[in-house]
């Protein structure tokens, strides 16, 4: 493509910046791993990793922290994508850790918090020194203050008051034994950027993100699609509605939204006019408190 004024569009600029970050990690840190959930952000991150090393293979494995509460669509998508790219998939299993008595189910049914020790154990077991995460700074107040290279101590903890200054594109990935770096190549992307990139690059996504008539129940003002984890309760009347998912989390807690967006282009239209944050709208597990993310990150969450 010819660009006479030598300017990149915002998507091309973000893409270049992310590829730079991914390559820098591969060059400077010994054992990186990319956290891949099958959600849209991690799909874009994996695609950027592919581009960073093409035509060679991605030189590190991907890891899924499996809560055991997955949408089958998403697992299928995960396995297909991993096979296409020829990368190694490591599954860190929350149910396995529960069976071994390492973590306990929380009363509210959310496994969001107990993912953290499972993740940290897997990191230690495999000796990973860098973990790529798909977090964006526009998602959350705590994320807005986090570096692209986020230093973590041996417990995976983030200390917001003691972050390394991050200047220009000169990233400092130096660590001592046991410490690690969380790397967020999508830091500067917004939700709309992600969707536009998916459209522009024709990146495959799980069908859950697109509207379809699904059987749903209403629960605390939210719509939940009936699946193996969500069974209608006695007082609930399931009904059919056009819905889609804006985020893909645990199948027992992630709500759907009414939507007519059956294509990625229509999703972009929806996102462009919707004035709700995606997490606020659909993630039951983030509703606990304003500072929920700050607390979880300090404990070593993604």
């Amino acid at each position: 493509m010819s660009t006479p004024d030598y300017r990149l569009s915002q998507l091309e600029t973000l893409e270049a910046e992310s590829i730079h970050v991914v390559r820098e990690v591969a060059a400077e840190l010994e054992r990186p791993v990319l956290l891949f959930s099958g959600g849209k952000d991690s799909i874009v991150m994996l695609e950027l990793a592919r581009k960073a090393f093409a035509p060679a293979r991605i030189p590190f494995p991907v890891m899924h922290v499996d809560t055991g509460l997955n949408f089958p669509d998403v697992l299928e998508f995960r396995d297909k994508r991993v096979a296409e790219l020829g990368v190694q998939l490591i599954v860190a299993s929350v149910p396995d850790a529960m069976a071994k008595g390492l973590v306990k189910e929380e009363p509210n049914g959310s496994r969001n918090r107990i993912q953290t020790p499972v993740l940290l154990d897997a990191v230690e077991e495999h000796g990973f020194t860098a973990l790529f995460g798909g977090a964006r700074r526009d998602e959350d107040k705590a994320r807005a203050k986090e570096r692209v290279f986020s230093f973590r101590d041996e417990f995976g903890q983030w200390d917001p008051k003691n972050q390394r200054p991050e200047l220009w594109d000169l990233y400092n990935g130096r660590i001592h034994l046991g410490e690690s770096i969380r790397v967020f190549p999508l830091s500067n992307w917004t939700e709309l950027d992600i969707w536009q990139y998916i459209a522009r690059e024709r990146i495959a996504i799980p069908p859950l993100y697109l509207a379809e008539e699904r059987e749903v129940v209403e629960r605390q003002g939210m719509l939940y699609a009936v699946n193996e984890f969500i069974r209608p309760r006695e007082d609930e009347q399931p009904f059919r509605a056009m819905v889609r998912y804006r985020t893909v989390g645990d199948a027992n807690l992630t709500a759907a939204v009414r939507s007519e967006a059956t294509t990625v282009e229509e999703v972009i239209a929806e996102v462009a006019v919707t004035r709700m944050t995606e997490r606020g709208a659909t993630r039951g597990d983030d509703k606990v408190s304003d500072a929920a993310m700050e607390d979880r990150k300090k404990e070593g969450y993604f």
Partner: protein, 446 residues
Amino acid sequence: MASHTDTAAQPGSHPVDVHSPVAEHAVELATARKDILRIATAGSVDDGKSTLIGRLLYDSKAIFEDQYEAVARASKGSFVDLALLTDGLRAEREQGITIDVAYRYFATPRRTFILADTPGHVQYTRNMVTGASTADLAIVLVDARKGMVEQSRRHAFLASLLRVPHLVVAVNKMDLVDWSEEVFEGIRDEFSAFAAKLAVPDLTVIPISALHGDNVVTHSPNTPWYEGATLIHHLEHVHVASDRNLTDARFPVQYVIRPQSDAFHDYRGYAGTVASGVLRPGDEVQVLPSGLTTTIAGIDGPRGPVEEAFPPMAVTVRLTDDLDVSRGDLICRPENAPTATQDLDALVCWMADEPLRPRQRIAVKHTTRTVRAMVKDLAYRLDVNTLHRDVEATELGLNDIGRVRLRATQPLFVDDYTRNRATGRFILVDEATNATVGAGMLTPAG
């Protein structure tokens, strides 16, 4: 405890009509080809910086309803305190302070903006240098009632030190000085005189009220005497294309790509980000430090081969000859090479509690090359308020800036920071703690 309002998720609410004229318009605005402007803001505690940022986010519709409602609930008083939109961590709310650089995102039909919001008080130098390092434009806020204060000078100086090409002085709280043209002109003239002493290539001064929105997005009826652009208009139209160095081809090799697969048996590519200049297939190039010359066989971008590569593209360069090239090497044009030197003269901003002292050993990361170095000499420490050079200084403390000479164990391929922001910069890393302890901008020797 905050509860979000989930109107979009409520069963009774209507889904977004993705085929409506509103949606079409939104898509048009959202998907128009835009570029990115990176902004750094600086201001003192009470000059309304948070309010201004809240205003920019709110007026450009980067704020979602639930965020706005959370802020409205938290506001004390009769109006919504937009400053709360940018208050991040609970720790900060409790202490009423801003801990660190926060990044904000907003967009207009013409541009998308990445704003590095830096606190003006504690750790100001470290944070502002960090925020300004990537900025195309810096906004310095001045309280119209107080005029230029020490911090305003300091912020302008740091922006010029980091070579931020465009500086905007937003004279805020104009409503509190009765929209006085005289007050505004006084501040404008004083700032212009000060900026002339610094290397500020482009200065714009705008009278605003962040609280009420005057001259932020729309022209204010309160300032009929002001004929310049609104803040947003200026941010949308400021010309940044010529800020980059497109003259000196510099390509630091970041990673060597060798698929070693059947399909790409002989592929050997040098991946990296173009630091400056333009590279094209067929160009004769030199590889440093070996000095060997060859030609560019091809350049692969994220979507396949490209005819040109320019900053900040991330590409993979293939060479016609099979040379030994590795990370940390630099590809340039034979007749236009950077200086290869072990002696680094630089203005250093020190960011650690433990001071920088002569004879200290330290790691230098410059482009993709990391070397060890020794601090040979501290020529002077700069007072960022008066610009006075203290040649008697024996060390640089936290947030000090000084002129330092380093001697590296290996040559680096450098340009002056004033000519090339990409190859004239480095960070300093403490090899014992692994902390990033300083930022350096190379200056001509002598």
